[in-house]
């Protein structure tokens, strides 16, 4: 699976749900690569921007799309990685900010 193929496959699924890919391909494509790296390394697509524990059960909340995407996109217009963005974010009607970490630190086990 190439990053481009992953991008096309996910786009078809996620856009109808209102989650658009960041048009900045210098963000989105490296993130596609990182998802594939984590899939190879860990066996699942752990969030590229978070420290994964390395066990699926302990990382269930950060398997992309993570459990925090909905709240982050609703509040900031983008997920923590800046991979998924809202229509408002795309249209520039909301301010683009650094999305703070929503995951409780206790979830990091080691």
């Amino acid at each position: 699976m190439t990053p481009e193929k992953l991008y096309e496959a996910l786009k078809k699924i996620q856009e109808p749900k209102g989650y658009f890919f960041n048009p900045d391909m210098s963000m989105t494509m490296p993130l596609m690569e990182s998802l594939l790296i984590n899939k190879d390394r860990l066996g699942y697509m752990a969030c590229p921007c978070r420290l994964a524990n390395g066990e699926f059960e302990a990382d269930r909340d950060i398997v992309c799309p993570c459990e925090y995407r909905e709240a982050d996109v609703a509040e900031f217009g983008a997920c923590f990685c800046g991979l998924y963005v809202s229509k408002a974010w795309l249209e520039g009607t909301i301010e683009k900010v650094v999305v703070p970490e929503r995951r409780p630190v206790e979830k990091i086990l080691w």
């Binding site: 590229p48 420290l51 994964a52 990685c81 650094v98 970490e101």
Partner: protein, 83 residues
């Protein structure tokens, strides 16, 4: 005096990559550690080190001239580099 910059990063994180690219553009030297590539006790110790600077242990965490900056925040980096 050359600025003292440490970057706690993840090898797969795009914000970490962008932060390092920005520092490179500014010609700033930095010491970077990829915490996801550490294992065992070394990793545990590093997580504790980051936690003291940034309780949410998110990445990147930068220390620029003694000031901790969470996330890739260009304005904050610029301000800290001026000091």
């Amino acid at each position: 005096m050359a600025p003292e910059v440490k970057v706690y990063a993840l090898s797969t994180c795009i914000h970490c990559k962008k932060a390092k690219e920005y520092l490179d553009q500014c010609g700033v030297k930095y010491d970077c550690v990829h915490v996801d590539q550490l294992t065992g006790q070394e990793r545990k110790d590093m997580v504790e080190e980051v936690k003291k600077l940034n309780p949410s242990v998110s990445f990147p965490t930068l220390v620029v001239n003694g000031e901790t900056i969470v996330g890739f925040n260009q304005e904050k980096i610029d301000e800290a580099l001026k000091k």
